[in-house]
Each structure stands twice: as structure tokens, then as C-alpha cells.
């Protein structure tokens, strides 16, 4: 159910960008040139919607199939037309004639009397011919840009718009069947007004950030994020310590796996945990969120919780300090729980997602508080960081020290067009995992 002030994942049908944003009434959203407001979607189940004149209307997923059937019918009609005339069939299969279009005979008749002229005139003729070809190319589409804008403004459905573009394309009848399908698919994707509004999940959030700005999440790709969760054996009841520089994505994934049981201790700078939009985006309920235990780095460095002085009361604002006091007390109470788990050696696993902080430096502060058989997983995009971490872990007699990386690629699966996607984001990182053991007998 799409609710006001909760987060949703939005993806345009045919597009590859996923946007995570908060639902708010009267707020206008723009995704890949598609503009709309959330108002009509609030209260509806997650699903497929169509944007028309800025408003949303829910449609059935099988509508995507009916569109496919329509184009299949169109393709059949096209085939029957081709079989009627062998000449047209021949021209459709031969794309070299495509540029000349219907005006080729005129060009030929024009050029025939000039054959006897001198070289200068021949050069001039070639220039004229090139210009006319350029003019032909520009005038291949009868529908103008202004007309397209007007049709969109009037709220014409996307499939009708695509049909108009197909009718208006002079060279369309001469294309191969494959080329026709490709043209239709591209126009559909470009002018589509359909979008998916989905419940956010770790997968959608990870893909959204990785596609938009991979460096912000330390180039952490979905498959490596998944592998880190498995190598650290995070499941319900686990107590996991996380240091991350990836916008809260790793902590969000851990909290999701805990499901309200266990603890995710999140090391952070400053007084409060900030810059964690991935955690906010997951809409965790209070039970699941209760496993999120922020722990200040300053507490770790000091070796104890430093409680701030409480004598900063401002008499001009009597209410504000009280709210601030309450929040601060709650924060300190949460940190006390986290700190107690830490110093009691009750951490099951320790995950580091490093962008520019040295993992060795973090491990030195934490190592003595990790119990035996606890798991350590470190991720970095920089191989030297992993090599240094490897040597450090080996020097402390950790076992099962393994280094992993991976290559992930997407495939296009379509009739007569099944192949890997030819260009995609490949930036990622390297994982090192280890288990701490008792070196003494």
C-alpha cells in the first residue's frame, strides 16, 4: 500500500533508472522526463501506473501483454503487405536503398541529362545530390517536434503517439522486420508514460545508488553486498558491528536480515548517525529499526562513553531543550546497549566497507573486543588496502583468510536477439574475509 510520507521505488517502464523518494502530496516528481504527482497513487497497492497530464492512474500488468499483441498484429499486417509485392519485399530486405526513399526515381531522371557535362559541373552535381539527400533525411519524419509536444500535453496515450510516429516515418515501410521492431521498441521506451511504483528493498536501493552514483556507495555492487552478508553469516539474532562509508547501505542490509532480532551496531562520526539515506529508504518498522544501535567513533577511541554536560538550558525556549534532552537521553541509552555488547565480546561479525579510512586502523581498535570464531569481512575498491589487511590478519593468526572479487553482467533476452548487454557499469571492489580464532591450545 502506497502511503503518504513513506518511501517508494519508482522506475519508468523501459527505463533502467530506479529512483527512491518519499511520497508527499502535491509534490511533483520528475523521472526521465516523466512528470507527475503522487496524489492519486496514495492508498493504492504497489504496481503499474500511467502518468497523464501530471496525474497517475493505476493499470493492470496484463496491459503490457496486450500492447505486445497489438504490435504482433501490426507485424503480421506488415508481413502480408510484403508478400503481396515481391518488389517491396526486395526493397525491405535491402537497406542500401533506404536513404533514397521514394524520391530516388526523380533524382535519377535529373542526373541523366547531365552525363555529358564537364568535370566542374559533375562536382557541382554531386554537391546538389548530397544536399538533397540531407534534405530527404531531415524530412523523413512528417510529425514535427511541436506536434509531439502538443500531443503529449493533450494527454494522448503513448501507444497512440508511437503509432503516429510510425505512420509519419517515410522510410519505415522499407525497413527490415527486425529494424521495424527495434524502432517501435525504442519509441515506446522513449515516449512511455508508464511507471512502476514499488516497495523499496535492499535490491532496488542498491541498484538505484549503483546506477546513479556508484562512488557514493564505495562502488559496492549488489552481488558483492550479498556475498558480504553470507560471509559474515548475518541472520536473525546475529550481533553485527558495521563500519561503512556507503550511505547506510550495508547497515540497511544487515538490519533487513536481522528482521527485528539481534543487533546492528553502526559506528559513525559526530553525535548522531547521519548520511544514511538507505536506512531511511527501507521504511523499517519500529521493531526492525530497534536493532539499529548507533555507536559514536569517539566512544570507541576514548574507550568509554562520554556523557555531555546537561547545563545548556536556554530559558528563552523552554520546550526545545526538553525535546532535545529526551532525544539525547534516548541516544545515550541506545549507545549504552551497543557499548555493552561490544565490551562484553558479544559481537558475532564485523563488517568494514572502506572508501578512504584504513581498515587496519579500525581493526586495531576493535580486535581485542571480538570473540573467538567471530567473522571479519572487509571490502574496498583498492587492492593495496586489501593486501595490507591480508598481511595484518595473517599476523594475528586469523584463519580462513580469503579474498574474493566478481564479475557480473546483464543479458538481453529477446527473440533472435539474445546476447550480453554491450556496455554496463563494471566498477566494483574486493572482499577479504577471515575468522578470528584462539591461537593458544
Amino acid at each position: 500500500m502506497i502511503e503518504n510520507s513513506l518511501y517508494v521505488a519508482i522506475q519508468k517502464v523501459g527505463g533502467d533508472h530506479i529512483k527512491i523518494c518519499k511520497v508527499a502530496r502535491k509534490q511533483e516528481i520528475l523521472i526521465q522526463k516523466l512528470r507527475f504527482r503522487f496524489d492519486d497513487a496514495i492508498g493504492q497497492p504497489y504496481g503499474l501506473f500511467e502518468a497523464s497530464a501530471g496525474k497517475l492512474r493505476r493499470i493492470c500488468p496484463s496491459a503490457l501483454n496486450s500492447e505486445t499483441v497489438e504490435h504482433h498484429g501490426f507485424s503480421q499486417t506488415d508481413k502480408s503487405t510484403l508478400t503481396e509485392s515481391s518488389c517491396e519485399t526486395s526493397s525491405a530486405d535491402n537497406n542500401r536503398n533506404k536513404t533514397d526513399g521514394g524520391n530516388s526515381s526523380i533524382l535519377e531522371s535529373n542526373s541523366r541529362p547531365d552525363l555529358a557535362l564537364e568535370n566542374m559541373q559533375c562536382v557541382a552535381e554531386k554537391l546538389v545530390k548530397n544536399e538533397s539527400m540531407i534534405r530527404l533525411s531531415r524530412s523523413r519524419q512528417k510529425v514535427s517536434q511541436e506536434e509531439i509536444h502538443q500531443m503529449k500535453k493533450d494527454g494522448l496515450p503513448a501507444q497512440h503517439l508511437v503509432a503516429r510516429l510510425v505512420d509519419g516515418n517515410l522510410s519505415f515501410p522499407e525497413r527490415t522486420v527486425y529494424s521495424k521492431k527495434k524502432y517501435i521498441r525504442r519509441k515506446e521506451n522513449k515516449h512511455s508514460s508508464r511507471l512502476l511504483i514499488l516497495k523499496p528493498s535492499i535490491r532496488l536501493i542498491a541498484q538505484s545508488y549503483y546506477t546513479k552514483d556508484p562512488e557514493r556507495i564505495a562502488n559496492l555492487r549488489l552481488d558483492l553486498l550479498s556475498h558480504i552478508l553470507s560471509l559474515s553469516a548475518v541472520h536473525f539474532g546475529s550481533r553485527c558491528l558495521v563500519f561503512e562509508q556507503c550511505a547506510g547501505l550495508m547497515s540497511a542490509a544487515v538490519i533487513d536480515r536481522l528482521g527485528g532480532y539481534g543487533a546492528c551496531i553502526h559506528l559513525h562520526r559526530g553525535s548522531t548517525a547521519q548520511s544514511i539515506p538507505c536506512i531511511d529508504g527501507m521504511n523499517f518498522d519500529s521493531k526492525v529499526r530497534s536493532t539499529f544501535l548507533p555507536l559514536r567513533i569517539s566512544t570507541l577511541l576514548n574507550g568509554s562513553i562520554v556523557e555531555p554536560v546537561d547545563d545548556q538550558i536556554d530559558p528563552s525556549n523552554p520546550e526545545l531543550p526538553e525535546t532535545a534532552f529526551k532525544r539525547r537521553r534516548e541516544r545515550l541509552e541506545t549507545e549504552r546497549i551497543a557499548w555493552k555488547l561490544f565490551i562484553s565480546q558479544e559481537i558475532d561479525s564485523f563488517i568494514i566497507i572502506s572508501k578512504d579510512v584504513k581498515p587496519i586502523d579500525i581493526l586495531q581498535y576493535v580486535w581485542s573486543s571480538l570473540p573467538f570464531a567471530s567473522r571479519i569481512v572487509v571490502y574496498s575498491s583498492i587492492s593495496e588496502v586489501i593486501i595490507d589487511t591480508f598481511n595484518w590478519l595473517k599476523s594475528r593468526d586469523a584463519i580462513e583468510v580469503q579474498i574474493h572479487d566478481a564479475f557480473l553482467r546483464s543479458h538481453t533476452v529477446l527473440p533472435q536477439n539474445t546476447r550480453p548487454v554491450m556496455q554496463q557499469l563494471v566498477v566494483s571492489g574486493i572482499i577479504i574475509s577471515a575468522i578470528k580464532v584462539n591461537p593458544e591450545k
Binding site: 497497492p45 504497489y46 503499474l48 493505476r58 493499470i59 493492470c60 500488468p61 496484463s62 503490457l64 501483454n65 512502476l196 535492499i202 535490491r203 542498491a206 549488489l222 552481488d223 553486498l225 550479498s226 556475498h227 552478508l229 553470507s230 560471509l231 553469516a233 541472520h235 536473525f236 536480515r257 536481522l258 528482521g259 527485528g260 532480532y261 573467538f372 570464531a373 567471530s374 587492492s383 586489501i386 593486501i387 591480508f390 598481511n391 595473517k394 584463519i399 580462513e400 580469503q402 579474498i403 574474493h404 566478481a406 564479475f407 557480473l408 553482467r409 546483464s410 543479458h411 533476452v413 527473440p415 539474445t418 574486493i430 575468522i435 578470528k436 580464532v437 584462539n438 593458544e440 591450545k441
Partner: protein, 296 residues
């Protein structure tokens, strides 16, 4: 979950090996030849140690499948086929304690073995093992699942059954694992027909690496070196698995060399032969659907 999670300060009694001997996870225990470490069990360690009845899915693929299915405590997942139970352990651990895994297999002997293993591992309460051919008879439950996973030869024949298994008001995630691209083509056609969305096919190629010391030499030094002298200066392997004696020698050598010039290290794939294909992962999403109110 008794064997998987011991809450008494990680102490555990191991009846099978050492009668009345208590040891702590992570302890080093002397054995007849050297020593061993006792580790806390987990799904990925189980994957590496289980006796195989079939080709199994390994940790990187299993990990990605869990994320693609959005598995979390409370999720209800249907799986087919069970195989050796490698992925079943990943799924059961991830959805416990409130969720449930329904795993189906066509081989009765296999399904019984995995069932007993799951029970011994303390996951019997969250798993149900069913001897069934899902391509013909469908899944054990209907209108219930948050996710369906298939690792069978003909997944396209099961898509309509999978759709029935999903919870209609919530929809869910579908993932299939197929070695051959022709299987993927048929499956994608079937998914489109059944109005699944976000149909994606991907291939995951994990790789293991190890740290190597680099020993460089100039051409002049090389030409002055005899064949006998060459041996001690070859690349030193500092990966895990080395004998302790050799590690000490390597350390001494490394320290000696560090006095001369700074030590360089790099990452190399190890072992030299690694998988270049496991299978294609096809994932799709089913939106909430209500058959009674079709507003096409």
C-alpha cells in the same frame, strides 16, 4: 537451532567426537596430526563441507539469489529442486524464525536426506520438504509465497504454477537458475506471458585471489645470476595453506629483503583454474494482482 546457536557463552558439548569434553568456538584442539579449529556453523561453511548428491550452487550465487528474492525473517519461499540442500540452508537460515521454506524435489531419496539434515541442523521448524514434480503438480502452497526459486531443467513449464503460489495481495520475486541460454529464452517468454515485470537475466562470475610477493630483478642482475642462485629469489607465495615451517622461512626472507628495498605485493587469481560459468540467473517480479477485479 540448538546446534547452530549455543547461547551459553559459546560452549558446546560435542558428543560425536569427544565425550564429555567442552570447548569454545574458535578454540584450537589438538588432533592426531597437528591441531584443528572448531568453528561456529554457517550456511556458507556448510556449502563447502556437505556431501554432494547433485551439482550445487556455491556461496556467491546463493548470496545473490537471497538478495534478489528479498529474503528476510518472516519471508515465505518456495524452492524447487532441493538438490543437495545447499541453497536450502541459505534460505532457511535467512527466513527463520518467522518465515517458512517449502522445498520440492522429484527424487524421494534426495528429499528425505535433506529433510533429515535440516532437522539435525535445527531448521526443521521452518522447512517443509515435499516430494513432488512441480512442473506437473505445482507447488505445495497457493496464494502464500513472497518468493519462488527454481533450479530445474524446464522452468518455463512451472511459471504458471509459480504465479499461483505467490500471495496475491503482496506479489513477490521470482528467480530461476539455468545453465543454458536456450532455457533462459523459453523462460523469459513464459514470464512475459504471465505478466511478470522487471525481467532481468544476469551472469555472476566470482573469483578467488591471493596475495603474492613480487620479486623484481634488473637485466644485469639476471645475467650475472647462475641457475642455482635463481631458485631462492623466485616469487614467494604468502597465501593461506602454507606449512608453518615454510611461513617462517618466508617471513625471514621477506624481512631480509625488506632491508634492501621496499616489498611489493599484488593480487593474483588462485587457484589457477576457476569457474567461468555456473549459470544464468533470471529474476522477475510479480505485482500484486486481484483476479476478481480486472480493470484492463
Amino acid at each position: 537451532m540448538h546446534k547452530w546457536r549455543c547461547r551459553i557463552k559459546y560452549f558446546k558439548k560435542c558428543d560425536n567426537c569427544y565425550n564429555n569434553i567442552y570447548f569454545r568456538y574458535g578454540s584450537r584442539i589438538s588432533a592426531t596430526a597437528g591441531y584443528i579449529y572448531a568453528l561456529r556453523p554457517s550456511a556458507d561453511l556448510w556449502t563447502r563441507t556437505l556431501l554432494r548428491q547433485t551439482q550445487i550452487l556455491y556461496s556467491p550465487d546463493c548470496s545473490l539469489i537471497l538478495t534478489l528474492l528479498d529474503v528476510r525473517p518472516g519471508a515465505i519461499i518456495c524452492e524447487s529442486g532441493t538438490g543437495s540442500g545447499s541453497l536450502s540452508h541459505f534460505l532457511a537460515l535467512a527466513l527463520a524464525p518467522d518465515g517458512h521454506l517449502y522445498t520440492h524435489d522429484i527424487d524421494e531419496v534426495r528429499i528425505k536426506k535433506v529433510e533429515s539434515e535440516l532437522r539435525v541442523h535445527g531448521l526443521g521448524a521452518v522447512t517443509t520438504c515435499i516430494h513432488r514434480d512441480v512442473t506437473e503438480d505445482g507447488f505445495f502452497v497457493e496464494n502464500a509465497c513472497d518468493g519462488v526459486f527454481l533450479d530445474i531443467p524446464s522452468p518455463w513449464l512451472t511459471v504458471s504454477h509459480a504465479k499461483k503460489a505467490f500471495n496475491r495481495s503482496r506479489g513477490g520475486n521470482f528467480v530461476s537458475f539455468s545453465p543454458c541460454i536456450e532455457q533462459v529464452q523459453k523462460l523469459c517468454d513464459a514470464l512475459k506471458r504471465e505478466a511478470f515485470i522487471q525481467i532481468e537475466t544476469m551472469e555472476l562470475l566470482p573469483r578467488k585471489l591471493k596475495v603474492m610477493n613480487i620479486s623484481e630483478t634488473t637485466l644485469k642482475e639476471f645475467s650475472l645470476m647462475t641457475a642455482a642462485e635463481k631458485k631462492p629469489k623466485t616469487m614467494v607465495n604468502s597465501g593461506s595453506g602454507e606449512r608453518k615451517r615454510k611461513i617462517d622461512e618466508d617471513t625471514a626472507e621477506a624481512m631480509q629483503r625488506e632491508e634492501q628495498l621496499p616489498q611489493k605485493r599484488t593480487l593474483l587469481p588462485s587457484p589457477p583454474s576457476q569457474p567461468t560459468h555456473t549459470g544464468y540467473l533470471t529474476c522477475a517480479k510479480l505485482l500484486p494482482f486481484f483476479d476478481e477485479t480486472s480493470d484492463t
